[in-house]
């Protein structure tokens, strides 16, 4: 027996206190009467006395002593141990996106799964221990070895399903650890999947006969010229998990309330069905978003719509070129798009422009007095060291004859992206500067191990491109690669916040931090907000919900909004999934835990009964004395 609050034994002191009170209270009142003759004679007439009345004083005392005893017990909260009467339970709750499917009663599979676990906990013998593993996008242990039924049920009720594919393998690993530690553990997998075979686990299937239709891989293209100028072509893939279903797809452009187009398709069971919407003639040259919706009702609405957002040209940052001979750069940048470029000489820069803010500073054969602390920087042929650049000038190297620059063969994604589209093999160089780097740079081109073109971050955390040679000392500006390289470097300097607009829930995406960003705020479909670290050039973000995410970038006093859509994972759209096997490896033992018996309810009832009895005795005495 365990005494939860042994100090409450002190309440038993109430017993002697009650006895003393009774002794004091039980004293007789002395009084003289005219004669005791009648009273004495009355004894002969005292027939059939109620036996309770003779003992009433003692009965009340006994009842009150019992009450104190029981109240003390209730306060002490003794818990009795019952040998080998309880179990250890491990529940694996599948929290994959398909658990969001609703059945006819309006309950989702996940809710039904929670109810099943709740019932198991309720029926479990007291003293049992409960472990709950949540198998969402990542498997996690919600609680482990919890004894309190109340807490176990409360924590269970707080859970919500994810919108991604469940990591059942990781969940199995967690359950396996629990089983290995205690082979007597009873493991339950609550899921909507059907397993052909399973071992050491009880499968609780909560799937129903739900119908589901889904849309995915939505694409749209707008013609900008020709006879079908401004025509919007929309296509995608439909899935139906009901035989011979005709699905109606409606298209909404730019958040229109009524569909701009619609079409019906007979979709075969289970297979991908590629659909195309007849061209939609828009009266404007661009669009912001296109939403496709399956209007048929089904059990899982999250995959019945898809949205594509048009990524806008985000390279609208100001650029300044500081050079005495800016021709090559001006020509390259000018050919790449509508950039806001200011070209000045070094002296003009020092006089007028040094204090201004720009998105990109290109210093060609010129080293400013101070490195700008905001905005990307290109340092071309800088022949002196400058603080915070991440590199320092060491010497000039003049070659006897032109040499070919070596293009980096690194498999690093960023390097490959920067070198994308560069095809010229022979880029010559006659003279270069030797730098030693102490910043975070990646080499794009080099000669004899000496970096010649580098990209990285300066000590202010801004993206920096370094050319260790004068453009006039190389044939690079004369090659077609120069424009491509400048374009790649501009993309690197002015990174798009988002690389795309269509993703799948559970994807981990990169959100780039553009120059001069003051804040980057991501709002999930549920309204959950996360602010990203603007000190980092790239932030990883996991799309753990289905729907539209909004990324708001505040820079230079203005806020730019970018949107992306995360659709439901395709494998989670299938109402009935049959998996081959789920097993916990090992030989189960019959070991059981010691059960617990908490007599609180019995004690409480006994207290109430005795209280009622005491009250009845009191009322009886009161009536007798009237």
């Amino acid at each position: 027996m365990i005494l939860t609050y042994p100090l409450c034994l002190l309440a038993l002191l109430g017993i002697p206190a009650i006895i003393i009170i009774y002794i004091i209270k039980s004293q007789y009142t002395e009084q003289t009467v005219s004669t005791t003759y009648i009273w004495t004679l009355s004894e002969k007439f005292l027939k059939r006395r109620n036996p309770l009345s003779g003992l009433s004083g003692i009965i009340a005392l006994i009842l009150q002593l019992l009450m104190i005893l029981l109240i003390s017990l209730a306060l002490i909260m003794p818990i009795f141990t019952l040998k080998d009467r309880a179990n250890e339970y491990t529940f694996i709750l599948d929290a994959s996106a398909s658990m969001n499917m609703e059945s006819a009663d309006g309950k989702t599979r996940f809710e039904r799964g929670k109810e099943e676990i709740d019932k198991l906990i309720e029926k479990a013998p007291n003293g049992s221990e409960y472990t709950l593993i949540y198998a969402g996008g990542e498997a996690s242990t919600v609680y482990e070895g919890l004894k309190s039924k109340e807490n176990a049920r409360k924590l269970l009720s707080d859970l919500a399903p994810s919108y991604t594919t469940a990591d059942i393998t990781e969940a199995t690993g967690l359950a396996q650890k629990r089983f290995d530690a205690r082979p007597g553990t009873l493991t339950y997998l609550v899921t909507d999947k059907t397993y052909r075979t399973h071992q050491n686990v009880t499968i609780v299937n909560v799937s129903g006969s739900e119908d589901n239709f889904g849309i995915t891989a939505l694409e749209c293209e707008m013609k900008s010229e020709g006879a079908d100028k401004n025509a919007l072509y929309v296509n995608g893939i439909l899935n139906s998990y009901k035989k011979g279903t005709t699905l109606k797809v409606e298209i909404f452009v730019d958040g229109a309330e009524t569909p701009d187009a619609s079409a019906t398709f007979v979709v075969p069971l289970g297979a991908d069905f590629k659909f195309e919407i007849p061209p939609i003639m828009l009266k404007k040259p661009s669009y912001a978003s296109v939403k496709a919706v399956i209007s048929n009702a089904d059990s899982y609405g999250a995959d019945s719509e898809a949205i594509v957002y048009n990524l806008k040209n985000e390279k609208q940052y100001k650029t300044i070129i500081v050079s005495e001979t800016p021709f090559f750069l001006q020509a390259a940048v000018g050919s790449l798009g509508d950039y806001d470029v200011t070209t000045v000489t070094p002296s003009e820069y020092e006089e007028k422009y040094a204090e201004n803010d720009y998105g990109l500073y290109i210093f060609d054969s010129y080293t400013p007095a101070n490195l700008p602390d905001s905005g990307a920087v290109w340092m071309i042929n800088s022949d002196s060291s400058l603080e915070n650049t991440g590199f320092s000038y060491r010497s000039d190297v003049v070659l006897n004859e032109p040499v070919v620059m070596e293009k980096s063969t690194s498999s690093q994604t960023a390097v490959r992206k920067l070198l994308d589209g560069l095809i010229t093999k022979d880029i010559y160089l006659i003279k270069y500067l030797r730098y030693s780097t102490y910043g975070d740079y990646m080499t794009l081109y080099s000669y004899d191990g000496v970096p010649l073109i580098m990209a990285g971050e300066n000590l202010y955390g801004n993206r920096t491109v370094v050319f260790a040679f004068d453009l006039h000392d190389s044939n690079l500006p004369a090659t077609g690669d120069f424009v491509n390289l400048v374009g790649n470097l501009l993309d690197y300097s002015f990174p798009s916040v988002l690389d795309g607009s269509s993703y799948t829930a559970g994807d981990e995406i990169i959100i780039n931090t553009v120059a001069n960003s003051e804040s980057v705020k991501v709002t999930a479909p549920s309204g959950k907000v996360k602010y990203l670290d603007t000190q980092k050039t790239m932030n990883e973000y996991v799309l753990d919900e289905i729907g539209t995410y909004t990324v708001e970038v505040e820079a230079g006093g203005s806020v730019r909004e970018h949107k992306l859509f995360a659709e439901a994972p395709r494998e989670e759209r299938v109402p009935t999934v049959i998996e081959p096997n789920f097993s916990i490896i090992g030989t189960p033992s019959g070991d059981r835990l010691d059960g617990e018996f908490n007599p609180a309810i019995i004690i409480f009832i006994a207290i109430m009964v005795i209280f009622a009895a005491d009250w009845m005795v009191y009322m009886y005495e009161k009536r007798q004395l009237r």
Binding site: E30, S34, I38, F45, Q624
Partner: protein, 294 residues
């Protein structure tokens, strides 16, 4: 000590009442009480044949004219009675609010006045234990009443009450009127002997049982240790509840019935006089109803 006051209005009303004696009166002196023997009063009693030597003034000449025979008219004789009133002067009579003692004295005074008004002689006695103390002796006439009756207030209430032992040795008279015993009769001592003795002396016996409100309806409840006012050695210790009170009332009823039945069996008059009841109610209510007064 019990005290009483004379209510002149009540005394005036009492004057209108007349007591009825059951037994033949045997007074020595002429009085206001009609005797069962024939005498010289003005009240006609019967006829008898005329015998030579009879008073010819009492011949009914009308009857002679009708029946042609001489009849002598007979008249009741009237004697003076001696009313003896015995008051229980034990301590139990004054315990508590003294209402019993006051009631006993009031009753005695009223009965004495009634007798005085009927030209009877009145003696009042106080009984302490086995002793009979004469408080008022041979009081005759209203004037004497007014001077003597105040002595009742001098009666001391103490000790116990042994009626038979007190009365038997005393002179109680024979066939000459009422013997009134005023007591609570709450004793296990012998009272029957006194009644038998008085009845055997051909006296009209009347027992007035005076009980206080507390005795008729006890208010005591809870754990009580009761002591007897007359004898502290006697005690009663009990938790008094509804059942006990019920038994008490049955015991009281038993006591009352015992006295009443004994009186009725001996031809004596019994009357329960609650101490709280007024003299008017007792005299004009209960006594008239019982036929003691008219």
């Amino acid at each position: 000590m019990g005290k009483f006051t004379i209510n002149e209005e009540l005394l005036a009303q009492i004057e209108s009442l007349q007591s009825i004696l059951k037994n033949n009166v045997a007074g020595m002196f002429g009085g206001n009480r009609q005797s069962k023997s024939f005498g010289s009063s003005c009240e006609f009693a019967d006829y008898r044949d005329y015998l030579p030597g009879d008073d010819i003034n009492k011949i009914d000449w009308n009857a002679y004219a009708r029946f042609d025979k001489l009849y002598e008219k007979l008249y009741y004789d009237e004697r003076q009675m001696h009313t003896r009133i015995y008051i229980d002067a034990s301590r139990s009579m004054i315990h508590g609010s003294e209402e019993k003692a006051e009631a006993a004295l009031r009753l005695a005074a009223a009965l004495a006045y009634l007798s005085v008004c009927e030209m009877e002689k009145v003696s009042i006695y106080a009984i302490h234990g086995k002793t009979v103390d004469c408080v008022v002796s041979g009081m005759v006439g209203k004037e004497s009443y007014l001077t003597e009756i105040g002595k009742l207030n001098d009666i001391e209430f103490f000790g116990d009450f042994c009626l038979s032992d007190a009365i038997l040795p005393t002179t109680v008279g024979r066939g000459d009127g009422f013997s009134v015993i005023i007591s609570d009769f709450l004793t296990d001592e012998n009272f029957e002997g006194a009644i038998d003795h008085l009845v055997s002396k051909k006296r009209d016996v009347m027992c007035l049982q005076v009980l206080s409100s507390d005795e008729l309806n006890p208010k005591l409840r809870g754990k009580m240790h009761l002591f007897d006012s007359e004898d502290s050695a006697k005690a009663y210790r009990k938790k008094i509840d509804k059942d006990i009170v019920k038994a008490y009332k049955e015991a009281l009823r038993f006591i009352i019935e015992r006295v009443k039945n004994y009186c009725e069996a001996r031809g004596a008059t019994y009357l329960l006089a609650p101490a709280s009841a007024s003299i008017f109610d007792i005299f004009f209510g209960k006594m008239v109803d019982l036929g003691v007064l008219k």
